[in-house]
């Protein structure tokens, strides 16, 4: 699915060699400014049109309602006329689908879906961005710290939801528990380099390998 061979991106990524198959669930760990976002952006560019994308800055349109912000995930799947009609008056079909989706993310459709997003809290905004990604209904999900502002219980539920709905998942995280619990493979990145790239099994079983996780943040 994704393949990088001695990839170089000015100062940000250094000699990255990477191969992610289409059925893998991968977590990216590493300190802030280490290159996680750059790597995700690079991966996104490789197959932009097949990916549900959830960037760190969300890109929500403040003046539109949560509903419309989520609907934007499917803009390219409908005709412009259909999209325009839905903008003026939400159409029944997407309305139903999005209400269902928002419930799964712990958003009350009556309460949250019709407010413009500038009224929402940080955690709620983050879930709207995830919902947009989920609504795209692609086989691959790329997320940049998608659950950093959500409480741990909800974060766990949302990660499970994302993983259950996508074949390929690559997510940058800060919480190593979340990474160990939900993913099969963890890539550690620091100063633009891959420090380790190991299956979770090895990381949690081998003591020496587990030390690698600590070394990431030293």
């Amino acid at each position: 699915m994704f393949r990088l061979d001695h990839y170089q991106l000015d100062e940000r990524l250094n000699d990255i060699t990477l191969n992610i198959n289409s059925s893998e669930k991968v977590a990216l760990l590493g300190p802030s400014g280490g290159g996680k976002t750059s790597l995700l952006n690079t991966l996104y560019q490789q197959c932009a049109d097949k990916v549900a994308w959830c960037p760190q800055e969300h890109g929500l349109v403040e003046a539109l309602s949560s509903y419309h912000n989520i609907y934007m995930g499917q803009l390219e799947q409908h005709s412009a006329l259909y999209n325009l009609a839905n903008l003026i008056k939400p159409l029944a079909k997407p309305k139903q689908a999005i209400s269902k989706l928002s419930l799964l993310l712990g958003l009350e459709p009556q309460q949250h879906l019709w407010k413009t997003v500038n009224h929402l809290s940080g955690g709620q905004r983050q879930r709207i961005a995830i919902a947009r990604g989920l609504f795209r209904q692609q086989s691959c999900f790329l997320g940049d710290e998608p659950v950093s502002n959500v409480d741990p219980v909800q974060a766990q539920q949302i990660l499970e939801l994302i993983i259950s709905r996508h074949k390929t998942v690559v997510i940058a995280l800060h919480n190593r528990q979340q990474a160990l619990l939900n993913f099969e493979r963890i890539i550690g990145i620091k100063s633009g380099r891959i420090i380790f790239d190991l299956p979770v099994k090895e990381l949690s079983s081998d003591k020496r390998q587990a030390g690698l996780l600590d070394s990431l943040y030293e």
């Binding site: 952006n41 996104y44 560019q45 932009a48 990916v51 994308w53 960037p55 800055e57 890109g59 349109v61 403040e62 003046a63 539109l64 309602s65 419309h68 934007m72 803009l75 390219e76 412009a80 999209n83 325009l84 903008l87 019709w114 407010k115 413009t116 500038n118 009224h119």
Partner: protein, 505 residues
């Protein structure tokens, strides 16, 4: 609860719909008849003129360009000085009213007023721009300063005097924005300066009007192109990397003063006579209150109110057309829609916006007058095209400053889902700002014979009826002040719910 859910979008939407409906209601009342039936000969000659521009004698062209620039430059520098001072005391109501009244009177009318005292001189040209622009600067500077964070201000000792606080916190914070606004205003001053030629001052407009009136369109086109080139190159005049900005401005100021034409000596008695005699109706001077009241009544009901009505109708239509045109035009010039490093469409879009916003309304009006005859249509079209060029340009810049996600849509989807919702509050507040300006500018078109208030003011000056002229000018100033305060209220209402992410240019 449910009603407040949509309040944000709703308030913008309601406001837009109200404007649209009012404009539609205006249509049957406005004088929108097409009089001219065969403008094609004239148009063909105009087209030929544009294709084959010729330039008048080089000395005339250069002289008129230099004088145009010199008036604008001196006036702008003077106006920023007064604007800064007035902005410092802008919280006093009396200052606000004073500023509103001086900026409500159009440059052309200031020109006509000063001409009675100073004749066709440099003083008239400079003052005609300087006075209204001071009022505009005072208001804009005060608003820009008000928008700045108050944190630095509040950290100062409470014993610090007002002026020091102002120059240490608010002023430096607001400086970049004020500078860019001043630069934009310089462009406006150049246009105003050129247009002053239409009332006889020796700027570019004087030769333009002559060329137009005599049907020498190739010469008119040549003058217009020269003017567009001057405006398009402004950004290269301030090569501040080589010479510091203030030195450059000083050099230009000295050059401008040297370039000014000589001003004839003015006798104080002329001024006194003008202020105490000429501008008041005879009956009032003779102390005949009944006759004076009757005179004012006649002016108000027979001239001012019908003209006021026409002005309002036309400017309302122009405002809505401006909005629609701007929304249609800006995407073609924006990188948000045409992101390629070289895009023919975008280049063309930019050129169209540049031409629309740089050509003074009066030129558009002149061309449309030939096509449609003397009705409201040329006025509405001229005002709308010019202002749409300006607002379209600002929207284009705003749309390019937004950070879009990598997976943002394209084309119509992109327009309606990503860009429009983000720029709409800004668009509305720009339009509300332009409302006042459009009414003000409708005065210019009066000079061409379209029956706005400006038409009656101009003819009053031509008939040497200064009493009537002054009365009508005051009426038009009142209209401007009323529209300004109304639009400020509407804006305050929408701003509460919509936070524009970029402040006005």
């Amino acid at each position: 609860m449910v009603s407040s859910i949509f309040s944000n979008i709703k308030s913008s939407r309601n406001l837009s719909l109200t404007f649209l409906i009012v404009a539609l209601l205006c249509i049957p009342f406005a004088d929108l008849v097409i009089y001219q039936v065969e403008p094609w000969d004239e148009l063909a000659r105009m087209g030929q003129g544009i294709m084959r521009p010729s330039f008048p004698e080089l000395s005339i062209l250069i002289d008129s360009l230099i004088i145009t620039v010199a008036f604008a430059l001196i006036a702008i520098l003077g106006a920023t000085f007064w604007g800064l001072l007035l902005a410092l005391v802008f919280q006093f109501r009396i200052v606000r009213i004073f500023c509103a009244s001086i900026r409500a009177v159009h440059e052309l009318f200031w020109g006509l007023i000063f001409m009675q005292v100073y004749g066709l001189s440099a003083t008239t040209g400079v003052l005609a721009i300087l006075v209204p622009f001071s009022g505009i600067f005072a208001k804009m500077f005060a608003e820009i300063i008000e928008q700045q964070s108050s944190v630095p201000y509040s950290t100062l000792s409470t014993k610090t005097d007002r002026f020091s606080r102002y120059v240490y916190t608010r002023l430096p914070q607001a400086w970049p924005q004020m500078l860019s606004y001043t630069r934009y205003r310089f462009e406006c001053a150049l246009r105003s300066s050129a247009v002053l030629g239409f009332i006889g001052l020796p700027t570019l407009g004087f030769y333009l009007e002559t060329a137009f009136k005599q049907g020498q369109y190739s010469e008119a086109a040549g003058l217009l192109f020269a003017f567009l080139i001057v405006i398009a190159t402004i950004r290269w005049w301030f090569f501040t990397k080589i010479i510091p900005g203030y030195v450059l401005v000083l050099i230009y100021l000295v050059l401008a003063v040297v370039a000014l034409p000589d001003s004839p000596t003015v006798y104080g008695s002329t001024l006194v006579q003008f202020l105490t005699q000429d501008i008041w109706p005879k009956a009032l001077l003779q102390g005949d209150v009944v006759a004076a009241t009757a005179w004012y009544q006649h002016q108000l009901f027979d001239i001012a109110l019908p003209a006021l009505w026409d002005t309002l109708l036309l400017s309302q239509l122009a405002l809505v057309l401006t909005g629609l045109l701007a929304l249609v035009l800006y995407p073609w010039a924006s990188k948000a829609f045409f992101p390629q490093s070289f895009s023919l469409t975008r280049g063309l879009g930019r050129a169209i916006l540049l031409i629309l916003r740089s050509v003074p309304e009066i030129i558009f009006a002149f061309v449309f007058l030939l096509i449609f005859g003397p009705s409201g249509i040329p006025a509405v079209l001229a005002l709308a095209l010019h202002n749409a060029g300006l607002i379209g340009h600002l929207l284009m810049r705003h749309s390019e400053q937004i950070q879009y996600r990598a997976d943002a849509g394209r084309g119509i989807n992109h327009y309606f889902y990503e860009v429009l919702p983000r720029i709409y509050p800004h668009f509305l507040s720009l339009l509300l700002y332009r409302w006042e300006v459009i009414i003000r500018e409708s005065a210019i078109l009066g000079i061409l014979g379209i029956t706005t208030l400006g038409f009656y003011i101009n003819s009053a000056f031509e008939d040497i009826r200064y009493d009537r002229a002054l009365f009508l000018i005051m009426i038009s100033a009142l209209l401007n002040i009323a529209v300004d305060s109304f639009s400020r209220k509407v804006r305050a209402n929408t701003d509460k719910t919509n936070k524009p992410s970029i402040k006005l240019a």
